[in-house]
Each structure stands twice: as structure tokens, then as C-alpha cells.
């Protein structure tokens, strides 16, 4: 049983995606990477739970999920 929510949880999925794309609109890769790093750290702290974070990192890196089918 995954603790990471893999069903949609956005209050407004389209608005979120548009805002994310906006952050990277000017195409400056270095700036984009800095924004992404800040975003990951901010959101990771908000989630907080190490188990959930590990699950997300495993999925993101395409690693096998332990105990997750």
C-alpha cells in the first residue's frame, strides 16, 4: 500500500501546470534548474514524511519500489 498519493490531488490541475510552465517560460536553463531545486526543497519539506519522499524519489528515478506493487 503506497503512502504516496498517486491519484490526482490538485485543486486545479490545469492552473498548476500552467503556472509551472510559466516559471520556465524564458528558457534560461540555469535559472530553470535553480527554480526546480528550490521548488523540490520547498515541497519536500511540506510533505516531510521520509517514507513518502522515498517513494516519490524511487518513482522519479525509475527505481524498483520495495513492497509496492
Amino acid at each position: 500500500m503506497s503512502a504516496l498519493n498517486l491519484n490526482s490531488n490538485f485543486t486545479n490541475a490545469d492552473a498548476f501546470y500552467a503556472a509551472l510552465a510559466d516559471l520556465h517560460r524564458d528558457g534560461d536553463e540555469e535559472k530553470s534548474q535553480r527554480i526546480n531545486a528550490r521548488l523540490i526543497l520547498l515541497l519536500a519539506n511540506h510533505i516531510g514524511d521520509q517514507t513518502v519522499l522515498m517513494e516519490a524519489m524511487h518513482i522519479a528515478a525509475d527505481l524498483p519500489q520495495e513492497g509496492v506493487s
Binding site: Q33, R38, L42
Partner: protein
């Protein structure tokens, strides 16, 4: 280079062992006269076991080397009467600041809890504690400390270990029941036995510059990431006694080691850091790189015991080398004493390997993580590191991610086979749980101020809250060998209520402490049989 410290020279003396026709037998031989070996000898003597200590040199450490000595280390040194001179000479600090580029992003205060005899950390050059240990040893007849005595061979022979020693007056042999190998990170004895210490090699080179200056920097630990005066690298500034400052510069991979040992090469860097107007002189320059590694087992052929850096090695970030080493030595000595006295089975020694493997793994993990944060290995990890530092200045959430070294704390031996588990209904919190080091507390004895930890150690201690305690049972346990009974408000006064608070004592609650001041068991209600059984367990008598 100038010097504030004159290394003492200890004379070689020919031992009568050298003239014996058959090798003389000793219970314990200790190879190496560093902090680990010297402390171990004093702890053995305190618990009634004589030792021979062999050191290949004739003095204490050259250079400042280990610098930060933790509260736990001071408490361990107190057990052999060497804590006070270290505290008196050392520099006590508790404030740390972290800088990124030219700005301070974060500061931490170790804020030690009130009511402990010892501070969180003192800084002191390694040669001072070594000298104090040697001074103490010179008053302890049970320790035979032999200088300029280089051990060239150690090998198991039947139920003994044979040790071959080379001296200015020729070579000789001795035998012993057990040998402690405390000959440092490069351990020639470990190598000669074909044993390996395995782990991670870090490619970065670091420079230690110990300098003398009168500048009025505060007594704080300052850590810079990527400062303008040393771009792309890290720098640590720390105060030492004698007006001496430790500056630790990261040099990166592939630095020219010999060049950086030259004062004229280092001087411009320090001027850039401190300012042109600050006058200073060099005391010591040392270039190093490091590994985080350990032996798979600290015990070889049952009788050859590795302890300290020979067994496990860490990066300097977090001060976990010498501090971890003394905790390991303390863990080993009380066990070996009881095996030698026939009070515990030889299998008790396996728990040295188990408990200190846990300690070593914890230290290696913490020091490797700090190293990875300080020296990012690629562009992306550097980006995350720098982002954490940027965010830390403004947002508290990022500060726990900043890692300039997680400072040494003693290992809690959770899950050790020597522990007696709490009864669930007793409802103790985990703070002072079984396996943890006992917390100190202020007490009075006969109206005099004293400290709880000073009453613990060298033997098992049963700490009892005297309210409601059955005096017949207490008196019965006072007869038990290797056990000291301490009843709160009978044997000492809990003058500030800290003992009852820190140990969550209720009427008749009791704690059983091991000779190394770790908790072995605790109860709300207990019997003589409970105490005896927990002691047997802590002595390894239930091990298979």
C-alpha cells in the same frame, strides 16, 4: 613556524622482560600510545587489570590533530581522572555560524542543558589530553608504559597471543591473553595480519593551518561555503588554546600537496581571509585527505582486538574520530576485565564488536553525509547544496539540511543483546532508554555539591528511588558482587530534582547501569531476581 608547545620526551627504559629466557606473560598488551591506548590502560588499571602499553615513539602527538572533544569524551576521561585538566586547558564553545559566499546564513547554539558537569565541547590540541593521560599513568603502578617499543609482529598462539617488540636495546617477545591494537588509522599491525579496513575514499584534499594571532575573533565555530576569499571551496575556523586558531581549507581534488605545506603559499590565502592588517604566525601546516572506512570485524581470532582508528576511520567533519574511539575503548574495557576475571563468558566480547559496529556505522554515515554536503560531487548536487544554503538564510525549514558536520553524540545501543527490555506497562519515555548513556545531574553528598555521573562506572550500579523501596531488598543487593546500590535521598540528595526528572523516577523505580554508564535495564517495580537476571544478561551469560 613558531611553537607554543614543546613535545615532552619520554625516555626508553630497558624492560626486565627483555632479559627473560622465556617470553613473559601479561594479561593485556596494548599496541599504541595514542588517546585510545593510553585511556584504555588507565581504565583497565581502575578495574584491577595491569597492562603493558607499547608505543613506537617517545612523545605525544606531533601537531594539534584531534581538536574537538565532546561532553561524552570528557565524562569518559573523568572516569580515569583526566577530564579536569582537559576542561581547564581547553576552550569551551557552543556557538556555530555558517556562511555562504559573503553572508551569514545560519547560526546554531549547542545550548547545553543546565545541570551537567561537562560542556558540550571543548577544543584542545590532541597532544594535551595525551600528555595528561601519560602524567596520570606515571602514578599508576599497574601500567607499564614502554616508549620506543615498536611492535613488529602479533600472532595468535594457542590460547595466547605472541607479541614481538623492537627497541633501541634489541628485540624481544612477550605473550598475553588479549592484545589491543590501537596503532592508528594506518595500523601497521592490521596490515601485517592481512586484514582490511574497507569503505569510501574521498578525493578532496584539505589543509590544516594552525596559526597564532591576537585578533579578537569570538570563541565560535565558523564555517564558510564558497567564500569570496577561497572560491568554490569550504573553510572552517575554530579556536584552540594558547592563542592558536585552526583553519581548515578545502583544496579540492588534485591539489599540490607539497606546495600547500609551504607557509609562503598559504600566507596570501589567510591574508585574504582575515584581512591584510591582521598579524599571525604559523604553528603547524598539514595537508590531508581522508577515508570513511571500518574493519568488517574488530575482533581477529578471538584474542586480537582492534580499537580506535585502526578499527574505524571517519572524516574530520563532526569530530567523530577520537570521540568515537574513546567510546569504543570504554565499551571494550569493562567487558574484557570481566572475561579475564572469569565473571563473564568470552562471548561477551562479541558484543563489543556488535555495539561498536553500530557506533562506527553511525559515525561513518554522519561523517560521509557531511563530507558529501561540503564537497558536492557534480553540478546538480552542488546546485542543491547551494540552494539549501540560500534558502536557509530566509527560511527555517532549510536549516536542518545545512550540514557542516553533525557533531559527535554517543551511540545508543538500541537492540543490543545485553539490554533488558522495558515492561510496556512501566510507561517510561525513550529519552533515557535502555542502551543510552546515563545523563548527568547535580546532587549533594553529605551537604557537598557533587555530580551523578561521578558516582557511576567501573561496576554495575543500581539507582533506586528510595521512596517506597523495601529496605531489606536494598540491603540484600548491597551484598551483591560487582554492584553498587545508590538510593536517592539515602546515598545522595537529589538537590535540584534533576535525577528524578531526567530518569523519570517514581517511588521505588530503579535503573541498572553498566560499568560504562550505559543503561542496562529499568523498572517501576522490581525484585532481587529482576536485578540479578538483568546483570547476568548484561554480562553476556544469555548469549549463545
Amino acid at each position: 613556524m613558531v611553537s607554543t608547545y614543546q613535545n615532552p620526551v619520554y625516555a626508553f627504559r630497558r624492560s626486565p622482560d627483555q632479559d627473560a629466557t622465556t617470553p613473559v606473560h601479561h594479561p593485556i598488551i596494548i599496541v599504541g600510545g595514542g588517546p585510545t591506548g593510553l585511556y584504555s590502560a588507565l581504565d583497565f588499571a581502575k578495574q584491577g587489570i595491569p597492562t603493558v602499553v607499547l608505543d613506537d615513539d617517545n612523545t605525544v602527538s606531533y601537531g594539534s590533530r584531534a581538536l574537538c572533544f565532546s561532553k561524552r569524551t570528557l565524562e569518559i576521561l573523568d572516569r580515569v581522572d583526566c577530564g579536569q585538566p582537559v576542561v581547564d586547558k581547553g576552550v569551551t564553545w557552543q556557538l556555530g555560524k555558517v556562511f555562504f559566499h559573503e553572508r551569514q546564513v545560519y547560526e546554531f547554539n549547542l545550548l547545553p542543558e543546565d545541570g551537567h558537569e561537562r560542556p558540550a565541547f571543548v577544543n584542545i590540541q590532541q597532544y594535551y589530553p595525551e600528555e595528561y593521560l601519560v602524567n596520570r599513568i606515571q602514578h599508576v603502578p599497574e601500567i607499564d608504559l614502554r616508549w620506543q617499543s615498536k611492535v613488529t609482529q602479533v600472532r595468535r598462539q594457542g590460547e595466547k597471543v605472541e607479541v614481538v617488540v623492537e627497541t633501541p636495546a634489541g628485540a624481544y617477545r612477550m605473550t598475553c591473553d588479549y592484545v589491543l591494537i590501537a596503532d592508528g588509522a594506518n595500523s601497521p599491525i592490521r596490515e601485517s595480519l592481512g586484514l582490511k579496513s574497507v569503505g569510501q575514499v574521498f578525493n578532496d584534499t584539505f589543509l590544516i593551518a594552525d596559526i597564532l594571532m591576537k585578533a579578537g575573533f569570538p570563541t565560535e565555530r565558523w564555517f564558510w561555503f564558497d567564500p569570496p576569499f577561497h572560491p568554490g571551496q569550504s573553510v572552517l575556523l575554530h579556536k584552540q588554546p594558547d592563542g592558536c586558531w585552526r583553519i581548515d581549507f578545502q583544496l579540492g581534488a588534485g591539489a599540490d600537496r607539497n606546495a600547500w605545506k609551504q607557509p609562503e603559499k598559504v600566507r596570501p590565502l589567510i591574508k585574504a581571509m582575515l584581512g591584510e592588517e591582521i598579524e599571525f604566525e604559523f604553528e603547524w601546516l598539514s595537508v590531508y585527505s581522508f577515508r570513511c572506512r571500518r574493519m568488517e570485524s574488530f575482533i581477529h581470532e578471538d584474542r586480537i582486538l582492534f580499537v580506535g582508528d585502526s578499527a574505524h576511520q571517519v572524516s574530520p567533519f563532526g569530530a567523530r574520530g577520537a570521540n568515537g574511539a574513546l567510546q569504543a575503548a570504554e565499551n571494550l574495557v569493562w567487558k574484557l576485565v570481566r572475561v579475564l576475571k572469569g565473571q563473564a563468558p568470552a562471548s561477551l566480547l562479541k558484543t563489543y564488536d556488535q555495539e561498536r559496529s553500530q557506533g562506527a556505522d553511525e559515525n561513518i554515515l554522519n561523517s560521509s553525509r557531511a563530507t558529501d554536503f561540503i564537497t558536492p560531487k557534480n553540478r546538480m548536487t552542488r546546485l542543491f547544496r547551494d540552494t539549501v544554503l540560500e534558502l536557509a538564510e530566509q527560511y527555517p525549514f532549510a536549516r536542518p539540511l545545512v550540514n557542516s558536520g553533525r557533531l559527535s553524540v554517543p551511540c545508543v545501543y538500541d537492540g543490543s543483546s545485553l539490554n533488558t527490555a522495558d515492561r510496556v506497562e512501566d510507561g517510561f519515555t525513550p529519552k533515557q532508554r535502555v542502551g543510552s548513556v546515563c545523563k548527568d545531574a547535580p546532587i549533594t553528598i553529605n551537604g557537598e555539591k557533587a555530580w551523578l555521573l561521578r558516582q557511576l562506572g567501573d561496576q554495575f550500579v543500581l539507582l533506586v528511588d528510595g521512596r517506597n523501596a523495601d529496605q531489606t531488598v536494598v540491603n540484600r543487593l548491597r551484598q551483591e558482587p560487582d554492584l553498587k546500590v545508590l538510593v536517592v535521598d539515602q546515598d545522595f540528595v537529589d538537590s535540584e530534582g534533576k535525577v528524578r526528572e531526567r530518569y523519570e523516577l517514581l517511588p521505588n523505580s530503579a535503573y541498572l547501569m553498566r560499568p560504562d554508564q550505559h543503561v542496562a535495564a529499568r523498572w517501576r517495580q522490581w525484585t532481587v531476581a529482576d536485578v540479578q537476571q538483568a546483570m547476568q544478561r548484561a554480562l553476556g551469560k544469555e548469549l549463545v
